[in-house]
Symmetry: C2
Subunit: 726 residues, 2 copies
């Protein structure tokens, strides 16, 4: 087993998942066990025996008495006990009936390897439906179908027959079998990380991602849960589960389909619903999941998160010998949103006392050759840096193994001593210590020693930097978790409900002024506006609005694009121009869409200039209601610079959305302009989130544009599409 040193024991959620007996079984049936070494029904059996599985194994095959010397059973019915897990190796067509037999026998869970279900077309979908019905009717749970299987290495259950995997702390759920192989081979090469559980979720006909996540959160050998995901069918359940799991252990997700072409490729692979990548990433991060962008980063980041303390913040001290790799480290850390710590004068003086005169004692610290003759100095420097109150994380770049090059062989003793000191430091500090070494390819003894103690040593500065970033983000998430989870919700009010009832009764969406009324009832400031249903009502409006320039917009259940229909007139200064505009609008709209029902027009003062933002809500098929915020106009359309959060949100989420967009600089004021009213915008976001949560009648909501000002904002247009069923 891969050794793991940690300072405080990893926490786990209380064991409640139905998956515990299934994924850590004491008794296993192999349905379709075989003596043919090319068959899975053989390989799984051999694997269990070779690995020394300590539970009871029941090969089932009606055509033979013994396989590998073990007596077989003729049928599921012949099982002497209701086993924890049955592996079904037989073809798809036989599966529903076998699942029913297992369920009736009291088997807790089955793994269905066969393909030929939903992923293969209509006939397969019907077969999958039959499988699900058999399971539901009898109570057995189903992993797969169309899976490559699972392992639980601590329990010596390895149904895949992989020989290269070591038990350890990584729980892995992967929609790609090749990704499993790649990660196990990488772990084998790395030599410092092992796995607890793997499951290929297959078609997730029954057991799905969130079930596995819940299990990994509870499972005592799992220190980090890692997911390779092509698409979420029930993303909302996944993030709800993750909210609890990330509080006790790290969760890493690689989501494929970052591009439209990639989503298309994933779709033809698994038939998953693969939504917008940016949205998915935002929602996963909202609940404290560490999302990696490159598949290369899954294992290094998962390892770092499982082995290291989370960081208290983003301030990193870099220690190197030579400036080149320190510069690369600085670039990558800064790109990842971290900062170089400003070292105290005391720290710098302590460093000066032990380093050569030309060393650089400000961050990044460069020992500049001091370690050529005295590698132990690196450990001393790390100890000094660790004591600096301005430092949240430590990053040792490029070192260890210099003796590998022939002119430094005599230094190995000192390097080993440095490694021991670092091992002690890591054991006692609450700050992450991330180590990169250019010598990892040759695995020199000090690096092997560090790895033995469960301290990761990275071969790639890039991966090390992204691990530091993940440690920092996780630390900051946990520090703010209480704020983040204080979501704001409220009850619908009777008059609000009445608006929807009336619209529903009339078979339409809310009118713009109704949408604004609803917003106003729950605390959103909306501009004064008057619904005019007859031209006579225009009389005196100009004076009533104090001669401000006015805007007039058509109100119609039938006209979706008011501007296109000629339904909007701006800069109206008098009752006469209001009347002319009224006539124009009615004529244009009737011409544009003959027979359109015109409810009236809205008259309101023109909103002064400010910064255009957009607030929107969609109900995503996988993630449910999602709030979107961004700068308005071309920023949204061209640059796609928007932030997403699952509804309901907290005030912390609202502020994080504002801080997340690149256009935040514009909100903070550019070219000498004043900053917009951040508090008011955050209030608006929280209220819109609460509103959509309170009224399931809302299918879509768009406030576009909202004009933000140094004080307050103006909701210029509001559109609410109703959910006819609710």
């Amino acid at each position: 087993m891969v050794k793991v040193r940690r300072k405080r024991s990893v926490q786990h959620l209380p064991q409640q998942s139905f998956l515990h007996p299934i994924l850590a079984p004491d008794s296993i049936a192999i349905i379709g066990a075989s003596a043919d070494p090319t068959k899975r029904g053989y390989k799984a059996l051999v694997g269990l025996i070779k690995d020394g599985f300590e539970g009871r194994i029941y090969p089932i095959n009606p055509k033979t008495d013994r396989i590998l010397g073990i007596p077989t059973l003729p049928s599921v019915d012949a099982l002497p006990e209701p086993v924890d897990l049955a592996l079904i190796c037989t073809p798809a067509a036989t599966v529903p009936e076998l699942v029913r037999q297992c369920g009736e026998k009291g088997v807790k869970g089955v793994v269905v390897l066969a393909a030929g279900f939903r992923e293969s077309g209509e006939a397969g979908a019907q077969l999958e439906q039959a499988l699900v019905e058999a399971a539901r009717a009898t109570g057995v749970r189903v992993i797969g179908p169309n899976t490559n299987g699972l392992f639980n290495l601590h329990k010596k259950v390895n149904l895949l027959g992989l020989t290269n995997v070591q038990p350890g702390g990584v729980g892995l759920i992967s929609q790609s079998g090749n990704m499993l192989l790649a990660l196990t081979l990488e772990a084998e090469n790395y030599g410092q990380i092992g796995f607890s559980t793997y499951v290929g979720p297959g078609n997730q006909a029954d057991v799905g991602f969130s079930d596995y996540l819940q299990y990994l959160g509870e499972e005592v050998n799992t220190e980090v849960a890692a997911f390779y995901v092509e698409g979420f069918n029930n993303g909302r359940q996944f993030i709800d589960t993750a909210r609890a799991v990330t509080a006790v252990k790290p969760v890493v997700v690689y989501k494929s389909g970052t591009t439209a072409a990639g989503r298309q490729a994933a779709k033809s692979h698994t038939g998953s619903l693969a939504g917008s990548y940016a949205m998915t990433v935002d929602l996963l991060r909202q609940v404290g999941i560490s999302v990696v962008h490159d598949s290369d980063e899954i294992l290094p980041v998962a390892e770092g998160l499982s082995r290291m303390q989370k960081a208290a913040g983003k301030r990193v001290a870099i220690l190197s010998d030579g400036g080149g790799q320190a510069t690369i480290a600085t670039d990558r850390l800064t790109e990842a949103g971290l900062e170089l710590a400003t070292l105290t004068e005391e720290t710098q003086a302590a460093l000066r006392a032990i380093l050569l005169p030309h060393a650089n004692t400000s961050n990044p610290v460069d020992v500049a050759g001091t370690s050529d003759t005295d590698p132990y100095v690196l450990a001393q420097c790390l100890e000094i840096l660790e004591r600096d109150p301005n430092v949240d994380q430590l990053f040792l770049v490029g070192m260890f193994g210099g003796y590998h090059l022939r002119f430094a062989e005599h230094l190995i003793g000192q390097e080993m001593r440095a490694a021991e000191t670092i091992i002690e430091l890591v054991a006692r500090t609450a700050k992450p210590v991330v180590i990169h070494s250019l010598y990892t390819p040759v695995k020199p003894p000090p690096i092997r020693r560090l790895r033995e103690e469960g301290i990761p040593v990275y071969a790639s500065i890039e991966h090390a930097a992204r691990t530091l970033a993940a440690l920092g983000e996780r630390g900051i998430y946990l520090k703010n978790r209480n704020k983040q989870t204080q979501v704001v919700t409220f009850e619908p009010d009777p008059e609000g409900l009445a608006l929807f009832e009336r619209a529903n009764h009339e078979g339409r969406n809310l009118y713009e002024h109704e949408a604004k009324q609803l917003l106003q009832r729950h605390g959103v400031t909306v501009p004064e506006e008057i619904l005019v249903r007859h031209p006579d009502e225009l009389e005196g409006l100009s004076a009533r609005f104090g001669q401000q320039p006015l805007a007039m917009k058509v109100v119609s259940r039938d006209i979706l694009h008011k501007s296109d229909a000629g339904g909007v007139r701006l800069n109206l200064h008098s009752d006469a121009s209001l009347r002319a505009a009224y006539d124009d609008i009615l004529a244009s709209c009737r011409n544009y869409q003959p027979g359109a029902d015109i409810h009236g027009v809205l008259v309101s003062p023109m909103a002064p200039r400010g910064v255009e933002v957009i607030v929107g809500v969609v109900r995503d098929p996988a993630f449910g209601p999602v709030l979107m915020f961004g700068l308005g106009g071309i920023y949204v359309e061209v640059l796609e610079d928007v932030a997403f959060r699952a509804i309901p949100i907290s005030r912390y989420d609202a502020e994080a959305m504002i801080d997340q967009i690149k256009g935040r600089k514009i909100l903070a004021g550019v070219r000498g302009e004043a900053a917009v009213d951040r508090k008011a915008l955050a209030d608006l976001l929280v209220t819109v989130s609460g509103l959509v949560h309170a009224y399931p009648q809302i299918s879509e909501l768009d406030l576009n544009p909202v004009i933000a000002y140094p004080k307050g904002y103006a909701v210029v247009d509001a559109r609410i599409i109703c959910n006819p069923g609710v």
Copy 2:
């Protein structure tokens, strides 16, 4: 030596560089040769002897007769011949005098290891000046000082004493010694790539980056030149040299300092002038250099470029077994600007004929288990894909070595046969074939076989994808190189020169109207405008401009920020409002800056609304005149979405600049608006470039904003800062 298979021999520039005898010496003196094994003067000597250097070695040390049995010389003067290269291992203070002695003796080049020169402060800078003077006076060339040395492995010259390096095709110049070590260790682990030449350029007191680049372009063992650069002192010379080198062999640059913090770190490391990263990258790419963003990518991309044909285009066919890694590959390729090829019906039919029914024969092609029993099918699929005319590049993802897992050991024979077929395919096709395998960590025989033949097998999908992107970019660059190098230049005209003479005589920059006159003389369309020097001249202007709304701007040598000074009035509709504006402007400006010289005001029609862009020129200390293009206003200031090119540019460059910015979608028309006049914008960029090239009097130029229209553009403001010296 690492074997390299290639279809056509790499080209080299004709040998003209002065560095050939120095970097491939037949005779070497070691000044400060030593018997102390910890000293460089010992290590270098041992290295030469152990590696079997076939030339003549002269250890110089006045204090001993023999070192390692070799007779020493007491001084440089005692050398029996003017050696090609002298390695100076002695302390900094001794160096200038030794350099002088070497020069007087006729030594061609010296390598100065000592630190303590410019990088260490004022005294060191003086010592470096003395070193340079000694070299200039005597004709010897200097590598360093403050370098870790060099090697030429084909010549068996390894002054660093590294034991882990193999001769091969990568010529490496690195400002970081650790980066050299990291790359050699990576190459050793990879087992398929070797090095021709390495030089640590040190302070570049004499020989600099562009000299090394020229040499590597000429050197016959070098197939790719790779640079780790912290900062360019003479970037212009580097890109001028690169233009010739990239035409014959690939050049890969990793430029550190992507962030401001990183540039600060690099500065304290080498004292280099490290300019804007985005600008540097654009200028390097302009001349066909492959720029990698991650330090991890240097070796994989260099190897791929040196081993593989360049691609004819961006259309990639992906072949995988299982969709997961194909999806990752699709994402990474698309992110890197490549496309999935659309396979012909013929190709798909041919694939269907040999694959299992549920395989996916559209791109990405997924053999979906066919290779589980028949790995040779992968080679057959590759051959089919290679014949598809829609395919520019081939990407085999995830394969080879399946037998590593115990249930597939019997397949090794077929895998080896597939490898042989792929080797033959690579030898005969002009299309790049990039291979990724998840089995690389265990180095199975088919992968070893491919590597033996010089075919890279990547462990990382990410690195493989970036290699494909580099191959595609290089192919497209070479295809368009003729267009790209057709830079547009012209001669200054007498009246243009007169404008600068007058301004120079008056000790000022060009007035706005003069800048516009200059632009107009060389073909830029500028709006009609009238310089008004007395209020009486305003009479009738409103009528003259046909009652269009007018703008008025102050013209003053002293007022730099016209708007801040109250020097701009817009939307003037009558002679009366012009007169009032004139009085306002003069009063405001005199109030804002008492004593400011007011030359007059400019009156012009307001430019209609359109898309604001900005065209600017700066003279960069390292790269000389550089043209910048971007969308105007907050796009430049907040999003830094701009493109740079070294002046003079070609029309191809101009169009590439327009295509490069993210805001290109806005130029192409969003929300149903018409596209702007791309041809006119490209003309403008080419003309501004030519203008700055023709008039060295121009120090900075800013056209901000230019308003682009569906037909033509309007240069609303123009500012030219003069170079007082010219």
